[in-house]
């Protein structure tokens, strides 16, 4: 049987010491809604291969769960729970796309435990918080014993379950500059609640004189990582956001996608519903901007 270690450091210094562990698999634990089921499943398997000990480092004692709003940008601590963010005034008023996504993630009891940092670091292409953060221009703050660095969320994911974070590097917070745009999120799951996305989409639209000045579109669960759809974005600039223009833009979305068949849906279906989810997100975002 594999061995496990548990640590709950109270300072980052101690955390980075613990993160240097030769011959061990080091895992940061925030809420645990992804990691714990994986560990439990592993502990119920016949141990065929010798696995190195796992060192679990709990992040709950570090005070990384604060949300700060300096007027221009909103910084969300990595261990803020999804429920806490749903109740947060800055998130509700300034980041409506993220708020909509949070409302549709899992159910209450999972949202009470799960964290925004966990959702990002899990790096699932279906992570619902990622498309809104992406269209809102989010930036991640990574910290390690060597120092800290900022990485745009658009550069953060390298594949399913993979990020640019190096071993021992910790996601501390994510910063969003909401700007002047209106944003929205739409999700298609297999059910209304407690479901992972078949396809999700977020859009952020800035209007000038009723026309689209700039727009960002992101689609999840339809490629190895959440993707921006620049072709569709360009096609919308200078146009009125209406049923026709979003339908045309939706058709261009498919070029940015490479959906697969999996347990939740088929590639065929994903390619057909993604334009619809994008269109809905665009209309809602524009509507929000018009107020």
């Amino acid at each position: 049987m594999r061995e496990y270690e548990y640590h709950a450091p109270l300072s980052l210094e101690r955390l980075f010491e613990l993160a240097e562990a030769e011959g061990m698999e080091v895992r940061f634990l925030a809420g645990g809604t992804d990691l714990m089921p994986r560990i439990s499943a592993e502990r119920n398997q016949i141990p065929r291969d010798r696995k190195p000990p796992m060192r679990i480092i709990y992040l709950g004692g570090l005070g990384l769960d604060e949300v700060t709003d300096d007027g221009e940008s909103v910084t969300i601590g990595a261990t803020a729970s999804l429920s806490a963010l749903l109740d947060n005034g800055a998130v509700r008023t300034k980041l409506p796309a993220l708020h909509e996504a949070l409302r549709e993630m899992a159910g209450v009891s999972v949202r009470n435990t799960a964290t925004i940092g966990g959702n990002i670091m899990n790096a699932s292409p279906a992570a619902d918080s990622v498309p809104p953060l992406l269209v809102l221009g989010a930036e991640c703050l990574l910290r390690s014993a060597a120092g800290e660095r900022r990485v745009a969320l658009s550069e953060f994911f390298t594949g399913p379950g993979k990020t640019v974070a190096r071993p021992g590097e910790l996601l501390v917070s994510v910063t969003v500059k909401p700007g002047r745009g209106g944003s929205a999120f739409r999700k298609l799951g297999r059910r209304k609640a407690e479901t992972l996305s078949v396809v999700n989409a977020a859009a952020c639209v800035e209007l000038r004189d009723g026309l689209c000045e700039s727009v960002r579109i992101a689609v999840g669960s339809a490629a190895p990582v959440v993707v921006r759809c620049t072709g569709a974005e360009q096609a919308l600039v200078g146009k009125k956001i209406d049923e026709n223009s979003v339908r045309e833009a939706g058709a261009l979305v498919v070029k940015a996608l490479s959906p697969i068949d999996d347990i939740r849906s088929s590639a065929w279906y994903r390619a057909r519903v993604a334009p619809t989810m994008v269109a809905r997100a665009l209309l809602a975002a524009a509507e929000r901007k018009r107020g």
Binding site: E3, Y4, E5, Y6, A8, L29, G31, G32, T33, M36, P37, I39, S40, A41, R43, N44, M54, I56, Y58, G60, S83, A106, G107, V108, S109, V110, N112, T113, K192, A193, E194
Partner: protein
Amino acid sequence: MSQILRFHLNGNPAEVMAGEAETLLDTLREGLGLTSPKCGCNRGDCGACTVILNGNAVKSCTVLALTVEGKSVWTVDGLVDGERAGEPEGGESPAPRSLSGHKLHPVQTAFHEYGAPQCGYCTPGMVMAAVAFLDRNPSPTEEEVKDALSGNLCRCGGYKKYVQAVMAAARGEFDPLPERSGRNV
């Protein structure tokens, strides 16, 4: 390997050895012999293991036991009031609101009265999800109740009665909802 875990369980201090990778569900059931939280999936899907942690409903199979050090955990066992309810008064047989003379929480009474549990395996988790929800939102809409219970699966299909019963408990059909108690530390 394991470590000592100290926390508050149903308002009382608890101390137990917990494994480094052990879930709170396993610690409650195996370490402390408290079998009211049930294991349905062990992966955060079914909600049968729902308990209240620092005032929030959580799925105890997704919580690493050692992370609840110093925190407060309530299971359905802690809802039954310590006070004796007294013998029912004569006349119309009152709604059963007691377990060996101990008072039930109005959510429990409502679930029982509305016949919501069938096999009952999801019930302790449903109770805790509903209690945590009503502590925050004592006069909910039906849609809000559905949302609050959406993480709790009932394979017998008793959802409708569970929702009706939570609404009944909220409008005080049995006993008034208690003040937010020690569950919300």
